[in-house]
């Protein structure tokens, strides 16, 4: 039996402002910042990459004198910004996957979709945050790797370069900015496969396997097939100026390919998220 007072009460609460994208985005941000594992994961990504680069530079420094003339001539200090990057990429990709797959694992995804029946808002807020966070992580990590690498090389008296060199700066920024691609793909795979193991495997396979198979394949395969894959495509417009490999495409082609891959993955994720039962 509804009295006037309760009627008023229920109408008042129902008249609250509409839930907006900003609300969803803010809630996703809260999810990330209230878990210690977020900071540990990102921190590890940074420190392991920088440490690996430092160690590698030390190894080079120690063994340089034993190198052949040809090897010494081909020594390129710029490359030392890249060595530990694969660690950061793996960590960032796992991070991207887990922002989604974790919710399916513990059932939180249902609560997310109950609070946000316009489900694609959840997808896109996660994309925005993962993109932003992994870009910052990537830039910070590459800069850190570069500075540490150069410092160690310098300590051994080897030729170094600095960020004042425009090529070096372009590489550092390019490499850092390319970081979010696989995390975002991983995020999409999280919604598509709804499994942590499955999505991480798929994302890392896409990241890793082309590198593994690269040397086993003939040049035409590298130039025409591998070059289409997302990792290779993004390299074409971020680091191709410094790294000349057969899998590079012209920069614009690379951009189009990356847009195509993201459309494929995110488009599928959006479609499946809307249509499937949660």
């Amino acid at each position: 039996m509804m009295t006037a007072a309760t009627l008023e009460h229920t109408t008042a609460t129902a008249q609250g402002r509409e839930v907006s994208f900003r609300d969803t985005l803010a809630s996703e941000w809260i999810k990330l910042k209230t878990l210690r594992s977020t900071y540990i994961t990102l921190g590890l990504g940074f420190s392991l990459s920088v440490a690996a680069t430092g160690l590698f530079a030390m190894a080079v420094g120690n063994t340089y004198d034993g190198w052949s003339e040809a090897q010494q001539a081909s020594f390129e200090p710029l490359m030392f910004a890249m060595v530990g990057n694969v660690i950061a990429l793996i960590v960032a990709t796992v991070f991207g996957v887990m922002t989604v797959s974790g919710e399916y694992a513990n059932g939180m995804v249902r609560q997310s979709m109950i609070a946000t029946p316009r489900r694609t808002r959840v997808l896109w807020s996660k994309v925005l945050l993962v993109f932003g966070i992994t870009t910052v992580l990537g830039l910070a990590t590459v800069t850190g790797m570069f500075l540490v690498g150069q410092a160690v090389l310098g300590a051994y008296g080897l030729p170094t370069t600095s960020l004042e060199d425009p090529d070096a700066l372009r590489l550092v920024i390019g490499l850092g900015a390319a970081t979010p691609l696989f995390p975002v793909i991983g995020l999409a795979l999280g919604f598509i496969l709804r499994s942590t193991a499955g999505a991480i495997t798929a994302a890392l396979a896409l990241l890793w396997l082309p590198l593994v198979f690269n040397d086993m394949l003939p040049a035409w395969a590298q130039e025409n097939i591998l070059t289409l894959l997302p990792g290779q495509a993004v390299d074409s417009f971020t680091i191709a100026h410094a790294v000349d490999v057969p899998t590079n495409s012209p920069p614009l082609v690379g951009v189009v390919l990356v847009i195509g891959w993201l459309t494929l993955f995110l488009g599928s994720a959006q479609l499946l998220l809307r249509r499937r039962d949660v």
């Binding site: 229920t10 129902a14 839930v19 609300d23 809260i30 513990n106 109950i114 029946p117 949660v278």
Partner: protein, 310 residues
């Protein structure tokens, strides 16, 4: 108000929910009963827009869930008390949910007070017992102060004090004019808490009635009569169509109201020492009605004995 209209949900060939229609009205506690696998959770997920019906529709205050702009202000739900990240504090868990629902942060403290978890708000949710997790889930449902509450097995895991607490909470919310819809297996508790029940079995509606009416029609409802002249009374009762079982101490009479028995006895001058109407328990009425719609039934003990002999 929740309106379920010809709701059907198929998975392949089997229908988990089959042409289900009922309405849950405000102002009272409505129980949702059914054997395991009857389709209760599926129905609740469809109410909340998580699962899409194969056919039919369900409306919450006149609209499908996915069309509501601020759903948490209109309907609060508890489906799975353990749906949280174990390493996140209870407070932060409610915080993200409140934010996602466009609700002010102050609501988090308010609902924590209502459910009595204010003292442990900063503990990690993974450390909670099942009972505490249930309270957290109820707090989640209450965040938007909604006029409709949908709770799946909210009593599960609560100790007797907790059960009593939630019973009075739900009844208070119903008295405020809200719609309260909860599913439970605990018959005795349902009997105490709910006034109206919707019973389903194998995805189909079995009953949609007042608890009083539901149990009155069960064969286990009877009247216990003790009289020094029961031998005179029995033929009178049987003549009127009642079924009488005579035991040493008392008669068990079914098919007539106790008031009628009293009047007949008075008209014939038969002394009555006991005249006690015994309403069937909800459990008895329920088992009777849903007996053949249980999908998975444990083997009876006698069958196990024969198995051993072989």
């Amino acid at each position: 108000m929740i309106e379920v209209q010809q709701l059907t949900k198929r998975y392949g060939d089997t229908a988990a929910v089959n042409d289900l229609s009922f309405t849950v009205q405000p102002g009272r506690v409505t129980g949702f009963l059914g054997p395991n696998g009857a389709g209760k959770s599926t129905t609740m997920r469809m109410i909340l827009g998580l699962d899409t019906p194969t056919s039919g529709e369900v409306l919450v205050n006149g609209r499908p869930y996915r069309g509501i702009t601020s759903p948490m202000r209109e309907i609060g739900a508890l489906l799975d008390p353990k749906a949280f990240h174990p390493k996140r504090t209870a407070y932060d868990h409610l915080r993200w949910i409140a934010r996602a629902g466009g609700l002010p942060r102050t609501r988090v403290d308010e609902v924590l007070d209502i459910v009595g978890l204010a003292d442990v708000a900063n503990r990690k949710a993974g450390e909670f017992s099942l009972g505490m997790a249930q309270r957290l889930g109820i707090a989640t449902a209450l965040l938007g102060d909604p006029p409709i509450l949908l709770l799946d097995e909210p009593v599960n895991g609560l100790d007797p004090e907790g059960i009593r607490w939630i019973r009075s909470l739900l009844q208070r919310l119903a008295r405020e004019g809200r719609t309260v819809f909860l599913s439970s297996h605990l018959m005795s508790e349902m009997e105490e808490t709910a006034e109206h029940i919707v019973v389903i079995g194998r995805g189909q509606l079995i009953a949609d009635a007042n608890i009083e009416d539901f149990t009155r029609n069960s064969t286990s409802s009877h009247v216990r009569v003790v009289s020094p002249r029961s031998s005179d009374l029995v033929p009178l009762l049987r003549q009127a169509g009642a079924a009488v079982v005579e035991a040493q101490e008392a008669l068990t009479v079914t098919g007539v109201e106790s008031g009628w028995i009293g009047r007949i006895a008075a008209e014939h001058g038969i002394e009555l020492h006991e005249l006690t109407p015994r309403r069937a328990s909800l459990e008895a009425a329920f088992m009777e009605l849903t007996g053949d719609s249980v999908e998975y039934r444990a083997t009876a003990a006698s069958t196990l004995e024969t198995m051993e002999v072989r």
